[in-house]
Amino acid sequence: MTNLTNHTIASALAGLKKKEFTAVELVDAHIKASEAARHLNCYITETFDTAREQAKAADERYAKGVALPLDGIPIAMKDLFCTEGVQTTAASRILEGFKPPYESTVSGNLKKDGTITLGKANLDEFAMGSSNTTSGYGNVINPWKRKGDNKDLVPGGSSGGSAAAVSARIAMGATGTDTGGSIRQPAAFCGITGIKPTYGRCSRFGIVAFASSLDQAGPFARNTEDCALLLKSMAGWDPKDSTSVNRPVPDYTAQLKAGVKGLKVGVPKEYRIDGTNPEILEMWDKGVQMLKDAGAEIVSVSLPHTAYALQTYYVIAPAECSSNLARYDGVRFGKRVEGDNLIDTYEKTRAAGFGKEVRRRILIGTYVLSAGYYDAYYNKARKVRKLIWQDFVNAYQKCDVLLTPTAPTPAFAIGENTQDPVTMYLNDIFTIPASMAGMPGMSIPVGLSADGLPLGLQLLGKPFDEETMFRVSQTLEDAAQFTAVPSNFVKAA
């Protein structure tokens, strides 16, 4: 029997249907793999026991011929999604022990379709970070290593645990959230596929909020088709989220093989930024060539306000986060450190509960919203955000999708890039503009760097046109034939 952890979701579903193996076997194989990979620190909370129970129930449904669309598929759930009765921490000590009495809409949708959650995946604290080193529950380690170097690398962030779990074959897919690149950048660092759909495509209900106008849920998987299957389940209008959009969810797998003939692929010139790793620029050119060879028309486009996206993001996101995180005050749930009086209790609780990066962003956000600075920072950032959005609208007059690098470097070692926060923030330079504009984006692995690390390319699509993005992604995937796996997790025979 081949190792069950090497299946894609699509092939596992076929195998389950044909009774080649059971959901219990599939889930057990992934639990065993998870146990063997605990040093990666992918999960904050493991839910293996309930997973086994759910696998039994899935097998019963398969036996009766009433299996659900994703029945028995073991996944990792980013610990930003509230899960009823299961500890939900957002990787913050301030929420340690918090068991929500409700289920997020997205995790509920997946559950309803039969997926089985193996654990709550580690992340940057409150999803604030690009390397999964701000978690209150320890760093996540990337399953990939540089050739001949045993240094631990970061998996990217903030959805680092989710990406590492899928890459390390301890989960078949995972949920993530993307505020400025938190799905796409870790997908690139871990050599897997991840998609951030259009803002409003997935409900934010029950997702611990970081920056509400940017946060969007999306899936990780090891190929385009699996991402399409997961997104189909996760997406949809939710009356409980006023910013979710009421339009039908298409079958994202239907058009996967339609190819790119007749499609126009835009290459934004502003994304050729100094300091980008030359190997990544080279991979970008290769990607352009692959699509050209497949019949796409390549057009050069301009997104003139790209240079301001990062600064704008670091005004808007902290502003929203400073307000969103005010509720963690030690009064009703989570951690409380008793002080001499109310203010003292607030200060002690928040000082003990929040890590350095979260505190930094709350301070920045409070500052940019305060009287006297509001117009200079927050209001100006809102105006620039509109211009960034307009850039994309203009570009999409000329093309159907955009192709860019996902991140300026491959995965770096833990401890690198931490000398000052701005260097770290630069990691999201290619992902942030689309986040600011609410446009969908995804990252697909297309090759390896000279020292053996995966490199990803980013596709950006028109609003609610994830289908076209998936088509292009599938074409790139077929052309790139990316089959490398992390060295520690070589395919078993």
């Binding site: 999604f81 509230c82 939900t88 957002a90 929420l95 918090f98 929500p100 009495p101 409700y102 997020s104 934010r204 209900f205 029950g206 997702i207 611990v208 909020a209 920056a211 509400s212 106008s213 009356p239 409980k240 989220d241 006023s242 910013t243 502003a319 929203e320 400073s322 307000s323 995180l325 005010a326 509720r327 005050d329 009064v331 009703r332 749930f333 109310l342 607030y346 409070t366 919203l369 305060s370 009287a371 509001y374 927050y378």
Partner: protein
């Protein structure tokens, strides 16, 4: 009448603006499905949204929007097609989210105006600056434990309309009349129950003073004043205080003050320097609120007749005085009672009986109109008995007193007690003859020119009839008899 406060340096004018928080009369909260009822056990009406739990999102309650628009129309105000919810950020244990969702730069309702009725019969127009929707905070309880404070979140997220007036009022009386009129309007519309003692209507009072004709002075805001009487007391005290400060060489600092209901005074709560920086910004969880013109027109069609329109109709149709009409329309219940009682009756007479006899008796018994033992139809029937001469006004008072105790129909009481007015001329003629026969000296005096004695004869006849003789007939017959 101009309200003038005499100071050592001359006459002072008081300038008043009011911010009234009115809880929208709905089943559920502004952004959650939890019940918005008053008086439930602490923390029994709290959804995860109201408790500010992680990942929870607000969704606007359409009913609240409808009622805010309806109230705006009732205030003759502009309805804004697009309004924006913003977050007002501050920390307090009874504010679970760490911010209040409110409308700031773009409220749902803009400029409007209402009429207020003053005791001297004059009417004044008061401008409305805006009306916006916002959520209420929870309630902190500081008297339940020696060291700790408790928090009740039942109120957290309740829908409020903040109605801001222009600084158009110039006396405690005007402020009182404004609150009274506003309360009447929201009650007529059914958009707020107006119960100030339950806190479903609360006032923040802005007061400043100036010499007549001078620029506006610096204002102080008195928070959470919870009755019409307290609003007036607070203004009286605060205006005097400000005049004293200025006249003794001091300066008014803009600040928030609290009203002490026991002593009738105000004291400083926090100055402008200590004021929070609320860091308002548009709530990213909510899209701008759009109300289409069709939606507004549909709501306009449901508008009931409002107190001012009713008042004008009463004056026109029934020839009532402004004061009488104002008193009748002041309360929705009262106007409804009146209209029911007056159906097919002498409306002016019904108005008289309602405002003097019934309201007087209810007041004495500390009862509301709803608790009245005399129903509207019964009061109407009583007036009917007067109009058709079945009983006299004097007897009617007796009947009314009995109705108020027993709740019986007036006709039954008249029947039981034999109070029917005597209109039988034969019977009255007989009494008249008796009275004339019994007082020959008085008759002589009358005939000798002492006209005033006529009243004595009328009184004697009525007395003899046990009050039942119809006074008009008595008059006629006596005149005839004495002229014989």
């Amino acid at each position: 009448m101009t309200y003038i406060l005499k100071g050592e340096t001359g006459d002072w004018e008081t300038v008043i603006g009011l911010e009234v928080h009115a809880q929208v009369l709905t089943k559920s909260k502004l952004f959650s499905g939890a019940s918005a009822d008053f008086g439930a056990a602490p923390n029994s009406q709290v959804s995860p949204i109201d408790a500010g739990m992680p990942g929870m999102l607000p969704v606007i309650n359409k009913e609240c929007v409808t009622k805010a628009v309806l109230t705006g129309l009732g205030l003759n105000a502009v309805i804004n097609n697009v309004s924006v919810f913003e977050r007002k950020n501050y920390f307090y244990p009874d504010l679970p989210q760490g911010y209040q969702i409110s409308q700031y730069q773009h409220p749902i309702v803009g400029n409007g105006e209402i009429e207020i009725d003053l005791a001297d019969g004059t009417v004044k127009v008061i401008g409305i600056e805006r009306l916006h929707l916002e959520q209420d905070a929870g309630k902190s309880l500081h008297d339940q434990h020696p060291q700790k404070s408790y928090v009740d979140l039942n109120r957290s997220g309740n829908p409020l309309m903040e109605i801001v007036s222009k600084p158009d009022m110039r006396s405690p009386e005007e402020a009182g009349a404004y609150v009274t009129k506003l309360r009447a309007i929201v009650r007529y519309l059914g958009t707020c129950d107006g119960n100030m003692d339950e806190g479903s209507m609360r006032c923040d009072v802005n007061v400043s003073v100036r010499k007549f004709g001078a620029e506006l002075g610096t204002r102080c805001e008195i928070k959470n004043v919870n009755s019409v009487r307290f609003v007036q007391q607070a203004i009286e005290y605060e205006a005097r205080r400000q005049i004293e400060v200025i006249e003794s060489g001091g300066k008014i600092v803009q600040e928030t003050r609290l009203f002490d209901t026991k002593q009738g005074t105000t004291r400083s709560m926090r100055s402008k320097e200590d004021a929070h920086d609320y860091r308002y910004f548009p709530d990213p969880d909510l899209l701008p609120l759009t109300v289409a013109n069709d939606f507004i027109d549909d709501i306009r069609k449901t508008m009931p007749e409002l107190p001012d329109a009713k008042k004008h109709r009463f004056i026109k149709d029934f020839g009532m005085s402004v004061q009488d009409a104002s008193v009748l329309v002041q309360e929705k219940d009262r106007a409804e009672y009146f209209e029911k009682a007056a159906e097919g009756r002498d409306a002016k007479l019904v108005a008289n009986w309602l405002t003097t006899e019934l309201l007087g008796a209810l007041n004495k018994g500390e009862k509301t109109l709803r608790e009245s033992p005399v129903k509207a139809s019964q009061l109407g029937a009583l007036v009917g008995l007067i109009s058709d001469n079945t009983i006299s006004g004097r007897i009617a008072k007796e009947v009314f007193a009995e109705m108020f105790v027993s709740g019986k129909d007036p006709g039954v009481i008249v029947e039981e007690k034999g109070l029917k007015q005597v209109t039988d001329t034969g019977a009255i003629e007989k009494i008249v003859a008796e009275v004339v026969a019994e007082n020959p000296d008085k008759v002589a005096e009358y005939k000798g020119g002492k006209d005033k004695l006529f009243g004595f004869f009328v009184g004697s006849v009525l007395k003899k009839s046990g009050g039942k003789a119809n006074p008009g007939i008595v008059n006629d017959l006596l005149k005839k008899k004495l002229e014989e």
